[in-house]
Amino acid sequence: MILGRVLGTVVATVQHPYYSGKKQLLVGALNPDGTLDGSRYILALDTVGAGVGQTVLVEDEGNSARQILGDSKAPVRSLIVAIVDDVTEG
């Protein structure tokens, strides 16, 4: 899983039917000290109601995503699975 911060949103009208009506968020990877990595990012489906600015946990593996979605044929790899309250380093 990846620690990230929700940076923005992406809206697509024409897309694969599985993604219709599902919220897609741009998540930037965070360093353990909470600063943005700046190069790594993921476009993930939201399963927890996350918003821009929140620190989240992103699952970036297809089989886990399909397990969480409960659909063995879901064409999805990246999911926001948790909203992080607090990170302690060291």
Binding site: L7, G8, T9, V10, V11, A12, T13, V14, Q15, H16, Y18, Y19, Q24, L26, G28, L36, G38, S39, Y41, I42, L43, A44, V52, G53, G62, K73, A74, P75, V76, R77, S78
Partner: protein, 96 residues
């Protein structure tokens, strides 16, 4: 998923049976703030309507293969959708 820009299309007559009928696009991967991010690749079009110049979302590996119907075709990248709106808050961009 990741963001990308469709920079071309291509047609192949001789190809695997499982790829028949799938539209092929050349996609350049982009960073979160829409800057070029590496070498272009060829992807199938699971959005059905993507064309040159479109800002798109794409998926790779097994998930790309799952995007098509019938599912699990022999491909490694697929375009998922065409982006209408892209909003990015404060972003430091790539360092160095």
């Amino acid at each position: 998923m990741k963001l990308g820009r469709v920079i071309g299309t291509l047609v192949a007559t001789v190809k695997p049976e499982g790829m028949k009928g799938l539209k092929l696009l050349i996609v350049r991967p982009l960073t979160a703030d829409l800057k070029d991010d590496g070498d272009p690749f060829v992807a199938t079009d699971a959005s059905a309507q993507a064309s040159s110049g479109d800002l798109v979302t794409w998926e790779a590996a097994r998930e790309a293969a799952l995007l098509h119907d019938p599912w699990f075709v022999p491909i490694d990248h697929a375009v998922v959708g065409i982006v209408d709106q892209h909003h990015l808050g404060e972003y430091p961009g790539r360092r160095g």
